[in-house]
Amino acid sequence: GIQVEQSPPDLILQEGANSTLRCNFSDSVNNLQWFHQNPWGQLINLFYIPSGTKQNGRLSATTVATERYSLLYISSSQTTDSGVYFCAVRIRTLGRLYFGRGTQLTVWP
């Protein structure tokens, strides 16, 4: 199956810092999503971004499908940004998602 690799696995920041999370995937995809998992285990949809660039407040994402990678940018990080960030891809319309291992982000005040 398709391989999804996320980096870095762990990231520790001070409040106010910026960060970039990366997701590489091994094959063509028709969907790529970024999620934030909160401490209660709930997956929050951040971006649905099979290609191009999107922004939502302090977060933005870019997917370069031809080069098989996506980046998630977090600016002016806050303690509430802490948690695990997952990248997931889909190779068939309406099919299952393949998840990376996630990036554990910790933001200190």
Binding site: F35, W40, G41, Q42, N45, L94, R96, R101
Partner: protein
């Protein structure tokens, strides 16, 4: 955005018992998915649930252990049978929604088996 309601949100169960998790979607969807997330790990697909047919299980998961029902296009259940402490995980249901087929998840069920 889609609304997927999953319950229970958490439970503590005795080994040897079974727990049924329910997932309700606010509109009709063709496919629903059940994932497991073991402590500190990523999400692993258990099975795909299609309405009116048997669920399709991934390697390492069997129907006797994780029976799934899909009685209509908005509802599905996953049962974790004959539980052991190794079944302690977060279980999540998911469905693609909207024209762009963005995937949404229920709130998750945090299961602890003692």
């Amino acid at each position: 955005s889609a609304v997927i309601s999953q319950k229970p949100s958490r439970d503590i169960c005795q080994r040897g018992t079974s727990l049924t998790i329910q997932c309700q979607v606010d509109s009709q969807v063709t496919m629903m998915f059940w994932y497991r997330q073991q402590p500190g790990q990523s999400l692993t697909l258990i099975a795909t649930a299609n309405q009116g047919s048997e669920a399709t299980y991934e390697s390492g998961f069997v129907i006797d252990k994780f029976p799934i029902s899909r009685p209509n296009l908005t509802f599905s259940t996953l049962t974790v049978s004959n539980m052991s402490p190794e079944d302690s995980s977060i279980y999540l249901c998911s469905a693609p929604r909207g024209q762009g087929t963005e995937a949404f998840f229920g709130q998750g069920t945090r299961l602890t088996v003692v």
